[in-house]
């Protein structure tokens, strides 16, 4: 197992910004995550976090996601997540992150979720 600093790619899909997260979500991920979040939410777009290539999330990473969630709440933006492994999905449930964001299995599931949010 090797450590891999987080790289985030932001892409537009159906009016939402998908943030493809590749690497470790720990203290080293803060800057990359924050700047991608700002880019993605420009114009109030909904944000979809793709965790399928995020191999490692630790408590500091959880705190960073909490931070994103707090910013999103303040701006009335919803966050959807997909691609979490069973293990990290459990952690999102234990920490109740799952109560404040939509957790989808895959990208199409996530997109139908954002559509629902957009149309709500």
């Amino acid at each position: 197992m090797t450590t891999r600093e987080l790289e985030v790619t932001v892409r537009e899909h159906g009016g939402a910004a998908i943030l493809d997260l590749a690497g470790d979500i720990d203290s080293s991920a803060e800057a990359a995550l924050q700047s991608a979040f700002e880019e993605g939410t420009r114009g109030g777009r909904q944000v979809v976090l793709n965790f399928s290539r995020a191999d490692y999330i630790n408590s500091t990473g959880i705190a960073l996601i909490v931070g994103l969630l707090a910013q999103a709440r303040a701006r009335g933006i919803s966050i959807t997540a997909y691609g979490l492994s069973d293990h990290y999905r459990e952690i999102f449930e234990i920490t109740r992150l799952a109560d404040f964001m939509t957790i989808a299995d895959d990208e199409s599931g996530a997109m139908s979720g954002t559509e629902r949010t957009n149309h709500a």
Binding site: M1, T3, N58, S59, A63, R96
Partner: protein, 536 residues
């Protein structure tokens, strides 16, 4: 004068005339006085003339284009009597004018010829004795130098090998008569790991011994500071390069064993590959790398393998495989590999290889090069901690408190528990708990001071798996002031952080904090039967 070839590198004394003798050195008039010798260069025609002469030679009447002859004339030599023994010119008797100022008579000459015939063999005997004495002194100097090399070499070999519960470690070193540059070392590291080294310096004797001792010292120092075998060899190479004598270099195999788990990580600087006997046959431990001391900036590939109970490793120097039989055939790698495969490890393997080698080279053969072997065998029963109270130690290691090092803890614990066959989801939970406990220990306990390591121990006993993560933060409580409340965090009433202990408690069956003597330990417990295994 110029160099004379050996039989003529004698001093040709001339007899001074009485009048020239300094008063102080002349006890009475007419005493003979030694003057500076006249030496004859090998290409001087006078040499051939003397060799062929049948008796005393008149110098005044001799006409040769010879620098030595001119010198003899200038010195006032009148008569030269060649001293010949067994056809070989070994010296010349030079005489000045007679004190009576008359010429030498034929009686004088006869007397001188007789004298020369007697003196020449006696002189020859004296010369031979002197030559033999000089040769003996040279031999003695050589032996003394060998002795010095041997002493340096032996002084730097480990006096004893560490006792590793669950492991048999044995070593063998026999220098050739002309001591080579072999060495081996076994270095206990602070976190319970042990480094094994086998190396060979090119060249022989004192130069090789000195390079060997330098290499060993740098290796020992680097082994204590650096975790990764590749990094250790890189550092040793950087240290050796500037001062390495031309055409010398060092091959070296460096491996670090984690005795509890059997994990062996290794790097190789151009040394002969070690053999490992496993249940599936004999394999070589391969890792790429250039010999040490050739050029700076080298990188050393790092590999790892896990030695299972019953596996044995042989580290060896080229003195084994390069031994020759009377027909000049080499012992070779295939024979050694076969011996490793057919025998138990440890001291028994060393004894076997030595017996095979002796049978191969023949009983009277002189050992050509140093022979070095280190064997390492994992007992078939697995490693039990003394007292067995704590059960089986699956891993026991330390990590410096540096951000990101929790990943190493996770990786090593995962490897240590691989044999338990935990359900995947349960393993993931354990990994998260180990990571969080290690981060807590590094951050809160040790304040990310690299000199304060975190130690991690993995124990299996009586149906439970325990991972103990210990820091130096004293026995204080670890629990945060508030249970994390996501609602409060999102509203900014709580820091977004503070999830570590919360996660730890939910990832394992039991988590407890204990303190003792300035050390604090978080113990993570998984019950191996029941517990959460049902949700796998």
């Amino acid at each position: 004068m110029t160099a004379l070839t050996r039989p003529f590198r004698r001093r040709f004394l001339r007899r001074g005339r009485a009048g020239e003798a300094p008063e102080a050195e002349a006890p009475h008039a007419g005493a003979t006085v030694e003057q500076a010798p006249v030496e004859i260069s090998p290409n001087d025609p006078l040499l051939a003339y003397f060799q062929a002469a049948t008796g005393a030679v008149d110098i005044d009447t001799l006409d040769l284009d010879s620098p030595a002859l001119r010198e003899l004339k200038a010195a006032g030599v009148k008569l030269a009597v060649p001293l010949v023994s067994q056809g070989e010119l070994i010296g010349v008797l030079n005489l000045g004018p007679r004190l009576s100022e008359q010429d030498y008579s034929s009686d004088d000459r006869k007397l001188l010829d007789n004298l020369a015939a007697q003196a020449a063999p006696a002189l020859r005997v004296g010369q031979l004795v002197r030559e033999q004495e000089a040769e003996a002194a040279t031999r003695q100097r050589f032996e003394q130098e060998l002795e010095v090399a041997r002493l340096i070499q032996q002084n730097f070999l480990p006096k004893e090998l560490p006792a590793l519960p669950g492991w048999q470690v044995a070593a063998y070193y026999r220098p050739a008569r002309e001591v080579g540059g072999d060495f081996y070392d076994v270095i206990p590291l602070p976190d319970g790991r042990v480094a094994f080294v086998v190396g060979d310096v090119t060249d022989k004797g004192v130069p090789a011994a000195l390079v060997m001792s330098a290499t060993r010292s740098v290796l020992r120092a680097s082994a204590q500071r650096l975790m990764e075998p590749g990094a250790v060899l890189e550092r040793v190479n950087e240290h050796l390069c500037p001062d390495m004598p031309a055409k010398m270099f060092v091959t070296c195999l460096y491996g670090v064993l984690e005795p509890a788990s059997g994990l062996l990580r290794f790097a190789n600087a151009g040394h002969d590959l070690p053999y490992v006997k496993t249940s599936e046959g004999v394999v070589e431990l391969r890792a790429r790398g250039m010999p040490l001391g050739l050029m700076p900036g080298m990188e050393y590939e790092e590999k790892e393998t896990v030695l299972e109970p019953g596996d044995s490793v042989l580290l060896h120097s080229d003195g084994v495989v390069e031994a020759h039989d009377p027909d000049r055939e080499m012992f070779g790698f295939p024979r050694l590999k076969e011996t490793v495969g057919d025998n138990p490890g440890g001291q028994a393997l060393i004894d076997r290889v030595i017996a095979d080698l002796e049978a191969f080279t023949g009983p009277d053969a002189e050992q050509e090069d140093d022979i070095t072997m280190v064997t390492l065998e994992r007992s078939a029963g697995g490693a039990m901690v003394a007292g067995a109270m704590n059960g089986t130690v699956l891993a026991d290691f330390e990590l410096p408190s540096e951000p990101g090092n929790e990943r190493q803890a996770i990786e090593r614990v995962e490897r240590a528990v691989a044999q338990l066959g935990l359900a995947p989801q349960r393993l993931e939970r354990l990994k998260t708990a180990v990571g969080e406990a290690t981060m807590n220990a590094m951050e809160h306990g040790n304040e990310y001071r690299p000199g304060r390591p975190v130690s991690v121990r993995v124990l299996e006993s009586a149906g439970s798996l325990r991972v103990q993560v210990t820091d130096l933060g004293g026995a204080g409580a670890l629990a945060p002031a508030d249970q994390p409340d996501l609602e409060a965090k999102l509203e900014g009433r709580q820091t977004p952080r503070g999830w570590g202990l919360f996660l730890i408690e939910r990832m394992v069956d039991e988590a407890r904090v204990t303190g003792e003597g300035g050390r604090r330990t978080v113990e993570l417990v998984l019950h191996l039967q029941g517990g959460h295994d049902d949700d796998a």
